[in-house]
Symmetry: C2
Subunit: 208 residues, 2 copies
DNA sequence: GGTATCGTTGACTCGCGAGTCAACCAACCC
DNA sequence: GGGTTGGTTGACTCGCGAGTCAACGATACC
């Protein structure tokens, strides 16, 4: 109904600008780039950006929320499903790694400009970011109740470790500190979960 | 020799500005604050800041390097000392946690404005930051050779997990996501190492 | 006590880039 | 085909804040 040729074209333009913004943010960083860079990348006039978005900030907010809400939905679904804690954590890690594999730019922007940008957008979106921590914490807590995971680790702390490791791995890829071939990515999924669940100690050395 | 009353006073002023900058950076963030805020906080004239530092950036660089070099020295010393891997990792975690306990503002600035600021100062100081990863990786690798830690975990990956967890915990404290009484901090030291070394799984569930 | 040195001052410049706006144009409607 | 709506344009404004600089003042040295 609201889908005349005209309003469809408008929606496309908005998408076009959003996608261009992701590219530019990923390439130059949010603060280092100018709004004119986004307009140029999208091939539209400067002013049009302000027709679709009220500010430069709003563009980044939109990029972040669009993707983060998907992540939250996926984690919640994983939590509700049947399966072991290890499987669930693996599913979550896999989804994030696959997201990066599929579209490195969006993930780079989200992590570098929001999640890790504690003083600017990270602060604004702290509640949203905490939701993810909290959902992961739930997965751990439930598994502890089933006796599947050690009960003597604070589930919030476990969530911190799990998410922290994933973020570090993605950051490593983003800044080319660690290899990132498709095989490396596949391996990382397992490594993350194994390290978190099994620990670094050799078997048998484990403290009671 | 170079320690006339005058040059001593000059060194003190430099220190004064540096300390004021830490306070201001911690309170407002590097980008959000103005150089005049630093001058005000230090109780000196605007221009004097530029007598001691060539730019706003150089102030943050100085704050970061001063402290980070201490960290690198400590990790290297820990690595050289006798002791189990668990003890060494605990020493490193303790040093970082104690640093935060002793002077939260400096650590906040280092983490928020440099270490986590991947697109601005994090990029500039990447080599320095990597040194820390590399030193931690060495600690793990040596312990693996002694048969003390599992050999099937990439030591670089282990370093990522270890440092990532610590950074997340400090970030949690900085943004008041997790409790940070002196007892919490003491407990965190042990929790970090236990979780990393022992894993989340209940004993016996561990994969071969 | 005269003068060179160097710390200290704060008003000023200057470039940058986010956001505005008046005009323009193309599709749709009657 | 005249008019209305709504997308599109890009030159312009405007505030901000980093960095400059000319003048000032206190200490050291002879």
């Amino acid at each position: 109904m609201a889908s005349t040729a005209r309003s469809q074209a408008a929606a496309d333009k908005r998408r076009l600008i959003l996608d261009a913004a992701v590219k530019v943010f990923a390439r130059q960083g949010f603060h280092a780039c100018r709004v004119s860079d986004i307009a140029d990348e999208a091939g539209v006039a400067y002013g049009l950006v302000y027709h679709y978005f009220s500010s430069k900030d709003e563009i980044l907010d939109t990029v972040f929320l669009e993707r983060w809400n998907v992540l939250l939905k996926v984690i919640a679904e994983v939590d509700r499903a049947e399966g072991s804690a290890r499987q669930k954590l693996c599913d979550i890690a896999s989804f994030i790694v696959d997201s990066y594999h599929h579209d490195p730019d969006v993930m780079k922007v989200i992590i570098v400009e929001v999640t890790r940008a504690a003083n600017s957008f990270g602060r604004t979106h702290l509640p949203k970011i905490r939701e993810a921590y909290s959902l992961i914490s739930d997965v751990v807590a439930k598994a502890q109740q089933r006796g599947e995971l050690r009960a003597d680790v604070n589930p919030d702390f476990a969530a911190l470790t799990f998410y922290g490791t994933i973020e570090q791995v993605l950051t490593g890829w983003i800044f080319e500190l660690i290899p990132q071939s498709p095989e490396d990515m596949e391996e990382a999924k397992a490594s993350i979960v194994d390290t978190i669940c099994d620990g670094l100690d050799v078997i048998g050395l484990r403290a009671t």
